[in-house]
Each structure stands twice: as structure tokens, then as C-alpha cells.
């Protein structure tokens, strides 16, 4: 299976994962600072900034776009409970 590397910049930790893995499946296990509320793309708690490899995550859904907008997200922000990793990227908690 295709692998990809994701780096959590707040703890400067890189994890090698199978493509398609959701960020929520990793970040808590390695103790990164992304935090979660609803865990299903509704509350915006898990917002994070994608500092590199923005295009290496699955496209945000219409709903995710709306939640990001409502939470006044900056450019290249995503919900960690939604985004799946397709290729190498770097993220940090918003």
C-alpha cells in the first residue's frame, strides 16, 4: 500500500502512514496538540493549519468548507477529523 509521511510541527514528529489514513487516527496517539470535540466535522475544534503539502490531503467536503468558513479559518486550514492523507504533508494545530 502507498505510504505517506505526515509531520506534526508542534511536536516536530513525523509518522509514516498508509495513504488514506485520517489525521485524527494518528495525532492523539503520538501526542500532537490537535484537539477534538465532535470528531465528525461539525464543531471546528480540530482545526489545523497545513503548512506544506496542502494538495496531498483529500479535498474538503462542502460541509467541511462551511465549518471552516464559520470558524473564520485562514487559508490552508483543515479539520483534522476529516482530512485524509494522500501524500507527504506538514500540519500544526490552529
Amino acid at each position: 500500500m502507498a505510504k505517506a509521511k505526515i509531520t506534526f510541527e508542534d511536536i516536530n514528529q513525523t509518522v509514516s502512514v498508509p495513504a488514506g489514513t485520517r489525521i485524527i487516527e494518528i495525532s492523539e496517539k503520538i501526542g500532537a496538540g490537535v484537539i477534538y470535540g465532535c470528531r465528525e466535522g461539525d464543531c471546528g475544534t480540530c482545526m489545523m493549519e497545513v503548512t506544506e503539502g496542502w494538495n496531498n490531503l483529500t479535498e474538503p467536503s462542502v460541509l467541511e468548507e462551511k465549518v471552516l468558513r464559520e470558524n473564520m479559518a485562514g487559508r490552508h486550514y483543515r479539520l483534522a477529523c476529516q482530512a485524509q492523507i494522500l501524500g507527504d504533508c506538514k500540519v500544526k494545530p490552529a
Binding site: 516536530n12 513525523t14 509518522v15 509514516s16 489514513t21 484537539i35 477534538y36 475544534t45 464559520e70
Partner: protein, 428 residues
């Protein structure tokens, strides 16, 4: 009128600035609010009406069941066809209860809510209405004109829901603040210079409703403090017309941490709490304490939960940067004093604080993982898997505990030891 005002018997609107009326309702028999709050004399649902040369605005409504009183007061000063603007500063049902009926009676009115309120509006009104309301979302510095009067909005989210905002009547310098500066206190004399001593209610309301959102209170105060204020008109309790700025200053005080001022900004606070029946978890706690204490810039405290009460510990936790919980496993669970403390933290913001767990066990050892999950649920960051020791810790295991304490303290001061690239399959 003010000297003899009694809105328990006076059922009409109460004008307190030119063209600005209280049209709320009293709920003197209420004793519990939102499950989490007590009140010894009820509460009020304050709604306000502003008349301008170009029309009438209604700011917030009342709880379901109190519509009659509200509409009666409204009708005493305005016709429904004069209403052009309805503002909801907060969509909680105690303020949106009469909205559907008000919109039905004043269909020409435009509803103004904060940018964060849209999905909530739908979910709150869904059962009662087929077609959604027309509304306009507003944010800081958006204004609506009532002719010779203007309402300006302040985006003040999370006080205490995501949707909350304040509305400022520019010409009269009245701030309609929503739940901010409110309290559950019912007094038919209505104004802060007339009612009984409501200070405890004011502080109590802050402690249970606003305290978890101190950061947001600070941001809101940054918008509110520059305003000229003749009256602060919240949605519950007395209308603050005598020296309203005192209450703004008091909010700033309540939101500023006293402990962090004392410690100074250089030290991080790491607190270890534990419970222990035979002293095994206590020994681990002591070793972790020794390890953490070797790290420069960290102030370490060690507490046996058996000797403390929840409330002061909650205060400590609010100001701490890292929290370590030690619990033995008893009947497959962490022990009650640990859960009691961990279930009393809804009033403080734990977001991003560092958490860790440890404990001695006999054969199954569930407690540590359960406490870690709870800490994650409370939005803490759990950077390292906690330490579990079977029964009596050996010297080797105690050394491991010392290392663990040192590592957590190092993480706290930003000296995290790098672990190289981790394989997903190695994560548990």
C-alpha cells in the same frame, strides 16, 4: 416611577433611556437553570425594544412560556407592523423562545444574528416551522439604522455559546450584552441601583457560565471597554445603569488569573495528583515528582487527593500547565476521587494543557488508559503513554517513573526528545 417601580404588578414596558424599553419577563419561582445553576430567587428574561425614527427594533426575546408577558409589554409601546429589526444576541431557548411567534406577528421584520448562529438557528427552530426564517448575519462594526438611532454589533463568540454577540445602541450608549454581565436574580425593581444585593449572583453566574471561556471574555472586553457606556442591559438579572463600567472592570478582574501573576510568567506549573491505598501509586508519584523537579523552569506540586477538596484543586488546575493523575486500578476502574476531580473541570478551560497518567495495578490495570482517554476528552494533550506498574514498584520501575516525570516536564518547557520517524503500525 423608578422609586416605586414593581414590574411584578406593572405589566407594561419600562423606559430607561429615551426610546429604549425593557419588555422582558420575570420568572421568580425558578430554582435551577440549565441543570448546572442554582438561583435563590428566580431569574428574569430581559428583552428590549428600541424605537427610532425609522422603525422599532426588538433585542432578544424570552423563554417559552413567558410569551404573554413579553408580548403584552411590547404591545404597550409599539405595533407589530412598526418592527423592522429583530436581534438575537444569543439563541439559547431562554432568549429565542418567543421568536417564532414574534416573526409570525411581525413578518416584515428582519432578523439579525451572528455569523456563527446560522446552523444553530435551524436546529433550534426545526421542529416548529416548515420554512426557514430570512435572516442577516452580522459581525463586529456592522450596523443597522433605525433612522435617528443605530445599532452596532460586536462579535463576541463563546460567551457562552458559539453564537453569542453584543449589540450597542450608539446614540444612547446602551450595550445589550446578552448573557454577558447577566445573572440569575429576580427583582421586580429591575435596576442595579434599586434591587437587593445581587453581587453573589453576579459572581456565581460568571463562575459557572463565563469562566470556561475566559480567553473569549478577554477578547470581548477588548471590544467593550472602549465604548462609552451609560447602561449595560444584559438578558438576565438587573439592568446595570448605575456605574455600569464597574461590571466591565469586574469581568476583567475575574478573567485574569491571580496565580499566574504570582508565579510570574517564567515558571510553568506541573501538578501531580494521586490516590493510593497501599502506597504503591504514591511511591510512583513521589518518583515522578523527583524527576520533574530536576527540570529548570518548572514548578512542581504533589497532592494526595485524599487530603483535599475538589473546589480549590479546580482553581489550581485552571492555572496549571501540566496535570498528572495517579490512580490504582480498583475493580477495573480508576478510583472515585480521581473521577470526581476529572468530572468537575467543566468550569475551566483545559485546552492544550499537557496531561499524563500513572498507577499501580494488580492484574488488569485499566485505570491509566481510562484516565488518559478522559484527559483527551477534556481537550488536553497527552504526549506520552502513561506508566503502569504491577503491584509494588521495583527500584528499576521507580527510576522509570523519575525519567517519565523528567520527560513530561521537558515537554512542558519545549524540550521534547525526538523520536525519529514513527511507523503507523507501531502506534497503539
Amino acid at each position: 416611577m423608578a422609586d416605586t417601580l414593581n414590574v411584578a404588578t406593572w405589566k407594561e414596558a419600562v423606559e430607561f433611556a429615551p426610546g429604549v424599553h425593557w419588555i422582558g419577563a420575570l420568572d421568580p419561582t425558578l430554582r435551577t437553570f440549565d441543570i448546572i445553576l442554582k438561583t435563590a430567587n428566580g431569574t428574569t428574561y430581559n428583552s428590549y425594544l428600541v424605537r427610532g425614527s425609522g422603525g422599532v427594533a426588538i433585542i432578544d426575546t424570552v423563554k417559552e412560556g413567558f410569551e404573554d408577558e413579553f408580548f403584552h409589554r411590547l404591545e404597550s409601546v409599539a405595533r407589530y407592523d412598526e418592527i423592522r429589526v429583530i436581534v438575537l444576541n444569543h439563541l439559547e431557548p431562554d432568549h429565542s423562545g418567543a421568536l417564532p411567534e414574534l416573526m409570525r406577528r411581525a413578518p416584515q421584520a428582519r432578523l439579525y444574528i451572528s455569523t456563527r448562529a446560522t446552523t444553530m438557528l435551524k436546529a433550534l427552530l426545526r421542529p416548529n416551522r416548515e420554512e426557514p426564517f430570512e435572516y442577516t448575519t452580522v459581525t463586529t462594526n456592522d450596523r443597522v439604522s433605525l433612522g435617528d438611532r443605530h445599532l452596532r454589533f460586536l462579535h463576541t463568540p463563546f460567551l457562552h455559546w458559539p453564537d453569542t454577540q453584543c449589540t450597542y445602541l450608539e446614540e444612547q450608549q446602551v450595550l445589550f450584552s446578552g448573557d454577558v454581565f447577566g445573572c440569575h436574580y429576580c427583582d421586580s425593581r429591575l435596576f442595579n441601583d434599586r434591587v437587593g444585593d445581587f453581587r453573589f449572583s453576579f459572581d456565581y453566574y460568571y463562575a459557572h457560565i463565563m469562566r470556561p471561556f475566559k480567553q473569549w471574555v478577554m477578547e470581548a472586553l477588548a471590544l467593550i471597554e472602549p465604548l462609552k457606556l451609560k447602561v449595560v442591559a444584559p438578558t438576565h438579572g438587573p439592568i446595570l445603569r448605575e456605574r455600569p463600567r464597574r461590571y466591565v472592570a469586574h469581568y476583567r478582574e475575574l478573567s485574569t488569573s491571580s496565580l499566574s501573576r504570582e508565579l510570574g510568567d517564567t515558571n510553568k506549573s506541573l501538578i501531580i495528583f494521586y490516590m493510593s491505598s497501599y502506597g504503591n501509586t504514591a511511591r510512583m508519584a513521589e518518583a515522578i515528582y523527583q524527576g520533574a523537579d530536576t527540570v529548570e523552569g518548572v514548578r512542581v506540586s504533589l497532592y494526595d487527593l485524599e487530603g483535599g477538596e475538589v473546589a480549590p484543586f479546580v482553581d489550581l488546575i485552571e492555572d496549571a500547565d501540566a496535570l498528572l493523575f495517579g490512580s490504582p486500578t480498583i475493580n477495573g476502574d480508576a478510583v472515585k476521587p480521581v473521577w470526581d476531580l476529572l468530572s468537575s473541570l467543566a468550569v475551566v478551560n483545559l485546552k492544550g494543557k499537557i496531561g499524563a497518567a500513572f498507577g499501580s495495578y494488580g492484574w488488569s490495570g485499566e485505570a491509566v488508559r481510562m484516565v488518559e482517554d478522559r484527559m483527551r476528552g477534556l481537550k488536553m494533550r497527552v504526549p506520552r503513554e502513561g506508566i503502569r506498574v504491577k503491584l509494588i514498584p521495583t527500584q528499576e520501575e521507580l527510576d522509570e517513573c523519575t525519567g517519565f516525570g523528567r520527560e513530561i516536564a521537558n515537554i512542558l518547557v519545549g524540550k521534547e526528545v525526538q523520536r525519529g520517524v514513527i511507523e503507523f503500525s507501531d502506534l497503539t
